[in-house]
């Protein structure tokens, strides 16, 4: 009936070295099959251990000629220092995490909005060059918006001049 469970318990006791459970002990008292299994298991274990000795009584093998030649061909054994250091053995999960972090950081860096930079003026002011040089430097340093406004002013002024010349109308202070 439940013999298979008790047989498993008996087997487990053989391997763990722990005493049998009370319930299994009680079962053993009444079940001949399990008692036989337990007895056979013990005897078998003893025989397996004892017979190993007779099996290994043969002559101790020497380093085979083939093996000797192979070792000679391969050279020295790998010394512990030559073996792969354990710290460098990145496990796949940690390697993947590091890779992900690197990709993430580089993506953020690439996609980050970069404001248009204004040219630095301070170094230009520090120069002791002539005024004209400084002025031209300042002009260069103007922002693109200001340059655009200047261009627009010039265009408007030329348009106004053209209209004044064409239709003979005075604009502003030129009316006099």
């Amino acid at each position: 009936m439940l013999c298979f469970i008790h047989k498993w318990n008996i087997s487990r006791a053989f391997d763990s070295g722990k005493p049998l459970a009370r319930r299994t002990k009680r079962h053993l008292a009444g079940c001949e099959t399990c008692r036989a299994f337990s007895q056979l298991g013990e005897e078998m274990g003893q025989r397996l251990t004892d017979d190993t000795v007779s099996l290994l009584k043969d002559e101790r093998p020497k380093l085979g000629e083939k093996l000797r030649r192979a070792i000679d061909a391969q050279g020295q054994a790998a010394s512990p220092s030559l073996s792969r250091p354990k710290r460098l053995q990145l496990r796949p999960v940690s390697a993947a995490a590091v890779l992900l972090a690197v990709v993430g950081v580089s993506l953020i860096w690439m996609l980050r909005a970069r404001p248009a930079r204004m040219p630095q003026l301070d170094p230009l002011f520090k120069l002791d060059g002539p005024r004209a040089f400084l002025e031209s430097a300042l002009q260069k340093a103007e922002s693109p918006y200001q340059q655009e406004i200047q261009e627009l002013k010039k265009t408007l002024k030329s348009a106004a001049d053209y209209l004044a010349a064409r239709f003979d109308i005075g604009l502003g202070g030129d009316a006099e």
Binding site: S11, L48, L56, L63, A77, S79
Partner: protein, 206 residues
Amino acid sequence: MDSTRDTINTTDEELATRAAAGSRRAFEELVSRYGLRLFHFLRSRSGSDEDVEDIVQETFLKAYLNIGRCDPRRKFSTWLFTVAVRLSISRHRSQGVQPLPLASEGPEHPSPGPQEALIREEEAGKAGNIWLQARTLKPSEYQVLWLRYAEEMPMKDIALAMKKSLVGVRVLLHRSRLKLGKKLRAPSPSAGLAEAATAGQRLSIL
């Protein structure tokens, strides 16, 4: 320089450390300690003795080349048997022999046909050595018994060497004991055949 007495009295792990440092003598001592053990351990997985010897030599060569990777805090025997198990499996696969995975196995024994199995059981019965009888079990069943009783390895190390869980090893051991017990109790098949033949003769006489 190592003296013979030194190498005999030292532990496997110390010898392995010395071998890793370049001592050929220390490695030779390890070979002499484990050569025959490995031979018997691998016998269940290979057909002929020559094949087994080849795998044993290959195991030692691999062990020699990688001995620097053997952790001296752990048992050398566990590491060596692990190497042997993996090599024997890959050898079978590369040769195109029916693969013998450790987890679930097909035939009772890799090579023998019914006749050879009969001869093997006969030999086992004659010799009286329980290991010869155990060799008729599945390779993994034989090997787990070998590691447990011949090598007296702790369960944890057996699990490591055979690449199984602790429960897996316990189940395998239990199954192996049940099977071996049945084989030991059962009359030999040849004896059965002989009995059947005698019975047939009797019948024909009658």
